[in-house]
């Protein structure tokens, strides 16, 4: 429960963010781990509880707001970015979080996602990517791999999948990161970094659906394989993995794996969150089996946010013309008197 501190500010704890509603995801679902981290991180952000708004669309992940004791809005399929844009534009002091999935965010809501990103609305967008439709019981999703056999693709999916980070980068996102449900500390740190960024923070979370697509990311998250398959990004540090034994170098635009012992640490490419889009895109597309998957903040650049600019226009107009006066507005510039 919340504790009154000496300074009078309310110190929040994880329990303050739990609701009295039963959590109804399938036992073993990766969503539980994400919920736990969000509830753990929120009290540390210095935001009063009443100033959080959690907005979602439709899908398993989108039940999230019901489990967060904040203001919450479970909206309609794919459209959460639009609701969040309207809310943040009129209430810029709120901390707005959008919870979405691969189907919600990239299929039915793909259009809203890219427009939210290009506008750079100041909010955090969490994309729970499990590469499957869970709530509708197991159809292939826009991130499912080609050949995926599901209820609606018995002979294998023939759709080329979206790579969420590529989509975000292509849509002019200013903050692009990736983490995983089973990487609790990394997840928490990524959520914090996302919150601190001004503008849209896009976070892809590898999330396991243990019912319809179990183990989709195990190569990245399980003990036995993660060492070789995780490329943890740190700004200003070389791109090394596999316990520092291997690293990434670039030959032109092409990434290449090298042994650090062969080339020396200085030859390894140093991660730059403010680097070129081409570099970030290359990072976004590293994947198994050839490459490890990048986890962490790929891109972080500054650009004014939509809500900030919208409200600045309102303020500038008020400074120039004064607050609007109804009588003058209704009369218009050229009224005439009939006597």
């Amino acid at each position: 429960m919340s504790v009154q501190t000496e300074s009078g500010a309310v110190k929040l704890t994880r329990k303050d963010f739990k609701t009295d509603q039963d959590v109804r995801w399938c036992p073993g679902c990766g969503d539980y781990a994400i919920l736990a981290q969000v509830q753990k991180v929120f009290p540390t952000l210095g935001v009063p509880r009443e100033n959080f708004a959690v907005i979602s669309g439709i899908g398993c992940s989108s039940r999230f707001p019901y489990y967060m004791n904040t203001y919450g809005f479970h909206t309609i399929h794919g459209r959460a970015p639009a609701f969040a844009t309207g809310l943040k534009s009129t209430r810029p002091e709120l901390s707005v979080w959008v919870i979405s999935g691969d189907g919600d965010g990239l299929s039915i809501g793909g259009n809203h996602l890219i427009h939210m990103l290009r506008r750079n609305v100041d909010l955090t967008f969490l994309l729970f990517n499990n590469q499957i439709y869970g709530l509708t019981k197991g159809q292939y999703s826009p991130t499912s791999e080609v050949g995926k056999r599901t209820k609606s693709s018995p002979l294998g999916s023939i759709d080329e999948p979206f790579r969420p980070l590529s989509v975000a980068l292509g849509a002019e996102a200013t903050f692009v990161a990736r983490t995983a449900d089973r990487e609790q500390k990394h997840l928490a740190a990524t959520l914090k970094a996302a919150h601190e960024h001004k503008g849209t923070s896009f976070v892809e979370i590898f999330q396991n659906c243990n019912i319809f697509n179990d183990g989709a990311f195990f190569h990245v998250t399980e003990k036995a394989t993660k060492r070789a398959n995780q490329l943890i990004l740190t700004h200003g540090e070389p791109l090394t993995f596999n316990g520092g034994e291997q690293g990434i170098v670039f030959e032109g635009f092409e990434p290449k794996i090298v042994d650090v012992a062969d080339v020396g640490l200085d030859a390894i490419h140093v991660h730059d969150e403010g680097g070129s889009l081409a570099y970030h895109l290359a990072l976004a597309r590293l994947r198994a089996p050839e490459f490890p998957s990048a986890l962490g903040v790929l891109r972080r650049v500054e650009r004014p946010s939509y809500d900030e600019m919208l409200n600045a226009q309102v303020e500038a107009d008020r400074e120039k013309r004064g607050r609007g006066e109804l009588k003058r507005l209704i009369e218009g510039p050229e009224p005439w008197m009939v006597s």
Partner: protein, 624 residues
Amino acid sequence: MSANPITPQVHKRKMVAIRFAGDSGDGMQLTGSQFTHTSALAGNDLATFPDFPAEIRAPAGTLAGVSGFQIQFGSHEIFTPGDKPDVLVAMNPAALRANLDRVERGSMIFVNDDAFDDRASKKVGFDNGNPLLDDTLADYRVFKVPFTTLNRNALTDSPLSQRDKDRSKNFVALGLMYWVFNRDMDFTLQWITKKFAGKPDVIAANTAALKTGYNYGITTDTFQETFQVGRADIEPGLYRQITGNQASALGFIAGANLAGKELFLGSYPITPASDILHELSKHKHFGVRTFQAEDEIAAVCASIGAAFGGAVALTTTSGPGVALKGEAIGLAVITELPLVIASIQRGGPSTGLPTKTEQADLNMAVFGRNGEAPMPIVAASTPGDCFHAAIEAVRLATKYMTPVFFLSDGYIANGAEPWKVPEVDSLPDLTVTHPEGPNSEEHGFLPYKRDVETLARPWAVPGTAGLEHRIGGLEKSKDFGNVSYDPSNHEHMCKIRAAKVANIVNDIPDATVFGEDSGDVLLIGWGGTFGALHAATMHLHAAELSVSHVHLRHLNPLPKNVPTLLKSFKSVYCCELNQGQLRRLLRAEYLVDVKGINKMQGLPFGVEELVGRVKEEMKAEGLL
């Protein structure tokens, strides 16, 4: 030209309708609106009808590219832009061809002589070539005026290119009409100076063109008569010129202001609603935030998000956009958030007739959502009335915590009229209060605990400590607002949402009757057909027929006295620009055998047309 100008004879007229027609690049809308402003300032009552093609610039000289602007002005009250123009100004053969059928024989036609030749005339269906050279127009009073030549001659010294010079020729036509109707040029001269500030050559050219037209009237002996339309005896007060879309925009700002709130508009450009977006985007100092969304769905969703945050939220669109917004509007119904959806109706289905008027979105407003999703509907009846209807929509939305449909149409949206500016003090107080603390001793804050009188749920906004709660599209439990699949709870919630909307009937005025409260025939209509129906009823009264007219502002719920009215007449004719959408509602609701007078031509009702059709119906029923 005659060296000795003849003093023309001045005829007095009670009302006149003029139609300006030309290529869509000829500036006819501008010419029409200048004539409108000037006539309003001269004290006339008036109504206008801009009639333009969907194509921005159809090929020059084609029928598809004809743009028209009709204005009727008079020395008494004017309700419509006129069925048939008394004067046609046609800038080319296409404009003449497209409008000739509308012009009464014996009327005056001013043509731009320079634009008429055999080739251009044949292209638009004058098979015998130039109609000015044969007897095609024998039944009309035709004035051949070389507008292009007059303009070029007036601008010989202008440094503008020939092409730019030719753009001024509509001002020659306007100047001539000012002379024919004894109008002052001052308003337009000032307007030109303001509009083209910083472009002295354009100011000089347009000014010279306007004066050239006027002086041509003075010095040419062709025109031996001019017309005078006196001041209308209209209610004293402050007036302004206003279109329906402007009035809607101002009404929504006023509504938000009266509620003590700021307005948020989520919108996607669509004809004929875009002008509301344009207008609202100009008034940021009122705290108006306009969001041009990526699509119709995002537009309404952003508005709902803003409503959740406590703004007065609006989305503006037309038929195809309403179709796309349906799911989100249903969410506003179940989450019980205030939202106004303004549909400026146009011809449908699908893309239909984007620039033409129709009233065929009523079914969609009443029924167009999945599930049981009732909503209040408010319809505006004239350009100026859009202002008051918009305020009413905001009032109902915020007081009853519900999405509300605001219906206007292309005809009143683009049409203009002189509008008596209301006193700000006379506008209703719409002050909204948000809860700041718990509303239940036992449970703290219950987001779905209703006001006993309005049945509205509390509008608790993010940022209020202790009232954190979740809403969403899944069915909500009574009072608590938690997700509930309980069968009897769902039925209860469906019924209470319906009761909340139905209950609004106690908060809206009875429908007023023009004419007797009972009699032979009741004409019932809604929305933009008001002017034509009112004027037609006056004609029918003059013919001593027992006909009354009721025009509905509230379409859901319908006013309390509607059933009594329907049953107080031998016959009821529901007049609509659709296939009978209100008619069907009235029959279903009240089991009265309402008959329909319907039109689906993308055009408003004409007054004579209505009078004729009412009489026909009455004859068929033995009432005449």
